[in-house]
Amino acid sequence: MTNDDALEVATRAVDLAIEAGAEHAEASFSIAARFHVEARGAAVSKLERSTGSSMHVRLWRDRRHATVSTSDLTAQALRASFLGALDQLRYVAQDPYAELPDEFGAFTGDLALVDPTIVVREEAEKIEDALALERSIRAADPRIINSSGSHYSDANATIALANSAGFRGVYTASRASRSTGPVAEDHGAKRTAHYGTAGRVLHDLETPDAIGAVAARRAVEMFGARKPSTMRVPVIFERDVAAAVVDDIFSAVAASNVAVGNSWLADRVGERIGSHLVTIIDDGTLPARLGSAPFDGEGVPTRRTSVFENGVLRTFLYDSYYARKMGARTTGNSTGGAIGANNFYLVPGDGSLADLVAATRRGVLVLDTIGFATEHATGSYSRGARGFMIENGELAYPIDEFTVAGNFADMLAGVDAVANDLRFDGSTVSPSFRVAEMTISGN
C-alpha cells in the first residue's frame, strides 16, 4: 500500500465519522508487513509472515470523547462503529479539555526511519540469521546443548494520521531484531539467558556472533550461583535492567498517571529528585531510532524534552488533553489516546560497566530481573534478581534467588555513577548505572 493509499483510508474514516454525527474526528491507520523466524538447532521451528492493519478513531461531540478500534474497514462497518461510539457519548461526562490538539505539524528533519536493506532483504538471509545465532551459542560453550529459540524478525510499517481539522500526515518506518535464548546444562541443572538487539538500521545491529557470545556467557556464568545474605549495599543495574527502571520512571512522568494520582512524582516539578548524574531526555527527533517519528499519535510534531536535568524534575510528558487539563503544553507524547515514550533515555556518563564494577568495593551487579508490578502511586520498587556479588572491585561469584528493593526517590537520589554503554534498542533505554545503597533480600 502506498503512503497516499494509507492516508486515503484514514481520511475516509474521518469523513465517515463526521457524516455519522461527530463534531471532530481523528483517524490513525497503520499497515505493517511482519516477518519472524525462530530456529532451534539446525532447523527452522517457526516461520511467520503476515500483513496486518489497524485503525483507531477518536470522535468528539459536545466536548465528550469516545474511541473506536477496528480491523473491519468496510464503510458499512465503520459507520456502524461510529454510530455506536456516538451513542456511548450520551453517557460520557462533558469534559472542557476533550477536543483535538491546538497545534499540528511534523518534524521536518530527515529521521531516516526506513532502512531499504530491511525492506528488500531476502528471506533466506533472514533465516540464516536465526540459524547463525543457534550455531554461535552452541560454539561458545560445550554446556550449551539446547535453546528456547533464536529469532530474527522485522517489520515495515506505514502510519497515516488524518483529522477533521485538516491535518494529514504519513510516514513509513522499518525495524529489525535478533535475539537468542540459550539453555546451558551442567550435571542436570539448567540455566537460561536471553540477549538480543533491535533497531531501524540492519547494519547497526549487533551481529549474530556477538549476540550469541553475550547470551552464552550469561547462561553459563550463573552456574554455582548462591543466594546472597540480606544486606544493604551499592547496586549496579546493567543497561538492560537499567532500561526497565527507566521505563518505570517514564510511567511516573506520564501526565495521564500524574493526573489520576498514580505517580509518586505528582506535584514535584521543580524539585531536585535525583543526583546530579540524573539527566533524562525524551526525544522523538533522533535519526534512525526506534522511538522517533515526525509526529505523535495526534499529529503534534515530536521534539526534544528535558524531563530531569541534573536531578531536577523539569516537566511531565503530555499529550494535548492532559496538557490542557494540567495547564501545560503538549510535549508530543500522544499515542492517540494514551501517553507514550519517544526515545526516553538516561544520558550516559563516562567509563564502561567494567569500570563501574572496578570502582565498587562491595556490592551487587544485577544482570536480570523478574517481576513487574511497580506501584507507581507509591514509587516502591522490588524485583526478583540474579547477577554477581562484587568484592574488591571484582565479580566474586554469581548470585540468584534474591530481591532488590527500594523506592524510586531514594534510587534516583542515590545514582552515583553512570556508564557510557547506552544503546537505543527500544524506546525507553538506559546505560548501566550504580545506586549507592539498596536492600538485597536473601538468606
Partner: protein, 466 residues
C-alpha cells in the same frame, strides 16, 4: 465467518507443499467499554478485531500467516505464505478435506450477541466510585473501568474438525489511591468472568469498591515489608497465583518437549510436599480461563498436574502432544488470530486440605501473611519465581498484626512446593480478573487456592532491621 468451501480450499492450499497438519483459525471479537476517572465517565470505547490465521505444521516446525483482509484472495495468500514452511518442493495432492462439525456442550451463555444498554455499565462505574469514596476522606483518586467482550472463534483443521465457540468476557475493575501525610497507598479489585453484566446484580460493585478502598487505606498505613527468610501463609483464593507461577508454567508442554523446563522428563517423580495437589481445569462454568473448546478446537479438560506431591502430566497443545506421543489436553490457546497457539493454563487451583485457616495462622511464629498477589513471574529452566503481594500483613506469635507494603516474594518452584507444611480446608477461586502473559501473548486465566503455609521463603522488602 467463512463458509466451509473457503475453509476447505484454504486447508488444501496450506498443505500443497506438504505438511503433517494444517488449521485455520477465524476470529471476530467485539468489545464495549467505559472508563471513569475524577468521579465522571471519562470516555467510551468500542473495538472490533477480526481476522484469519493459517498454520501448517511439519514435524517440529510451524508456518503461520494471518490476514485481516477477509477477501478470498488475501486469505489464499496467507495460506500460501504458511505453506512455505514445507519446502520439500514437490507439490502434493492433498485431496479433499471433509469438515465435520464438532458439537460441545457450552460452559457459558452462547445466546447473547450484543452488549447491554450503555446505562447498565455506567451505573456500575458510578456506584463503585461513590462507594470507594464513602468511608475514608483519605481516598484521593478512584479509577474504574468496565468492559464487555464477545469473541467468536471458528476452527477448521486438516483432520476434518470444524468447531465454533462463542465466548463472553466481562470485567469490572476499581483502582483506588489513598493519600495522607505525604504517603500514598493503592488498592485494586476486579471481578467478572464469562458472564453477562447482570452478574453484578448479585456481586455488587460496592463490594468491589469497598475492597479496593480498604486495601488502599491499609497500604497507606502499612510499614515497609521485612527483608529476609521467614514463614509465609498464602491467603485462600488469590494465593493461587503461587501455583500458576511456581508450578503451572513449568508444566506447559512446549518447555517440556524442548527440554527447557526443570520439570522436563519428571512425570511420576515427587516434585512437591505430599500435601500438594494441583489441577488445571478448562471446564469450570463461567470462570475466566474456561473454554468450551481451546483455540485449536479441542474441548477444555480437567487435568491433574500434581497429585499428592507427584508430577502427573503436562498441559498439551496439538503440536507438542503430537511430538511427545501424548493427547492434546485442550490447552492450546492464543491471544488472537495474529498469534500461533501455545500450551497455556486455564484455571489452575489446589483443592482443600485438612487444616483450618485459624490453625495455620496460629502455628506461625514469625512470618508474612500474603492475602493476595498482584502478579508474578517465573524463570522456567531453574524454576525461580517472584510474586508481588497486593495485600500483606506480618504474623507475630500466631497472630496477624501490622500491614506491610511493597513485599515481593522470591523463591524456587520445587523448593517452595516441598516446603508446603499445611493446606487449609477453605479452597476457593480468586475473583476473576487474572491475565497471563507468555511469549508476548495474553490470555485470561483463573486461579484458586486454600490457605497454605510454606515453612520458609524469602521476602524482599526494604526493612532489614526487624
Amino acid at each position: 465467518m467463512l463458509d466451509s468451501d473457503v475453509l476447505t480450499r484454504l486447508l488444501v492450499r496450506a498443505l500443497r507443499h506438504g505438511g503433517d497438519y494444517a488449521d485455520v483459525f477465524c476470529e471476530r471479537r467485539r468489545s464495549y467499554a467505559f472508563r471513569l476517572q475524577d468521579g465522571q465517565i471519562h470516555d467510551g470505547a468500542t473495538a472490533i478485531a477480526q481476522g484469519v490465521g493459517v498454520r501448517v505444521i511439519v514435524g517440529e516446525s510451524a508456518g503461520y500467516a494471518y490476514s485481516d483482509d477477509l477477501s478470498v484472495e488475501a486469505l489464499m495468500r496467507a495460506a500460501e505464505a504458511a505453506s512455505l514452511i514445507a519446502r520439500s518442493g514437490a507439490a502434493q495432492a492433498t485431496g479433499t478435506i471433509d469438515l465435520t462439525t464438532l458439537q460441545v456442550a457450552p460452559l457459558y451463555d452462547q445466546s447473547r450477541h450484543d452488549h447491554a444498554p450503555a446505562a447498565r455499565y455506567v451505573d456500575l462505574l458510578e456506584r463503585a466510585d461513590r462507594r470507594a469514596r464513602a468511608d475514608d476522606p483519605r481516598i484521593v483518586a478512584v479509577n474504574a473501568h468496565v468492559a464487555d467482550e464477545l469473541q467468536d472463534v471458528w476452527i477448521a483443521t486438516s483432520e476434518g474438525r470444524f468447531v465454533h465457540d462463542h465466548r463472553p468476557m466481562v470485567t469490572l475493575g476499581v483502582q483506588v489511591v489513598a493519600s495522607a501525610h505525604g504517603q500514598r497507598g493503592s488498592g485494586y479489585a476486579a471481578d467478572g468472568g464469562r458472564i453477562a453484566i447482570d452478574y453484578f446484580d448479585t456481586h455488587s460493585p460496592e463490594e468491589l469498591a469497598a475492597d479496593a478502598a480498604r486495601i488502599a487505606a491499609t497500604n497507606l498505613d502499612a510499614e515497609p515489608a521485612p527483608a529476609g527468610e521467614m514463614e509465609m501463609v498464602v491467603g485462600a483464593g488469590g494465593g493461587g497465583v503461587l501455583l500458576h507461577e511456581a508450578v503451572g508454567h513449568g508444566l506447559e508442554s512446549d518447555f517440556n518437549r524442548r527440554g527447557t523446563s526443570l520439570y522436563s522428563g519428571r512425570v511420576g517423580e515427587r516434585v512437591a510436599s505430599e500435601l500438594v495437589t494441583i489441577y488445571d481445569d478448562g471446564n469450570l462454568r463461567e470462570e475466566r480461563g474456561s473454554i468450551t473448546v481451546d483455540d485449536e478446537g479441542i474441548p477444555g479438560q480437567h487435568k491433574v498436574l500434581v497429585e499428592r506431591g507427584v508430577l502427573r502430566g503436562y498441559m498439551q497443545d496439538t503440536l507438542n502432544a503430537r511430538l511427545m506421543g501424548a493427547q492434546p489436553t485442550g490447552s492450546g490457546r492464543r491471544q488472537s488470530y495474529r498469534f500461533l497457539p501455545q500450551p497455556r493454563m486455564c484455571n489452575t487451583y489446589m483443592p482443600s486440605g485438612e487444616s483450618t485457616p485459624e490453625e495455620i495462622i496460629a502455628s506461625t511464629k514469625r512470618g508474612l501473611y500474603a492475602k493476595s498477589f498482584a502478579g508474578g513471574q517465573v524463570e522456567i529452566s531453574k524454576g525461580d519465581f517472584v510474586f508481588m503481594v497486593a495485600e500483606g500483613y506480618l504474623i507475630e506469635n500466631g497472630k496477624i498484626t501490622a500491614p506491610v507494603r511493597n513485599a515481593t516474594i522470591v523463591g524456587n518452584g520445587p523448593d517452595a512446593m516441598t516446603k508446603v507444611v499445611a493446606v487449609g480446608n477453605d479452597a476457593r477461586f480468586a475473583r476473576r480478573h487474572y491475565t497471563c502473559g507468555k511469549g508476548g501473548q495474553h490470555v485470561p486465566v483463573g486461579v484458586g487456592m486454600p490457605t497454605v503455609k510454606i515453612s520458609s521463603i524469602t521476602v524482599g522488602g526494604t526493612d532489614d532491621e526487624r
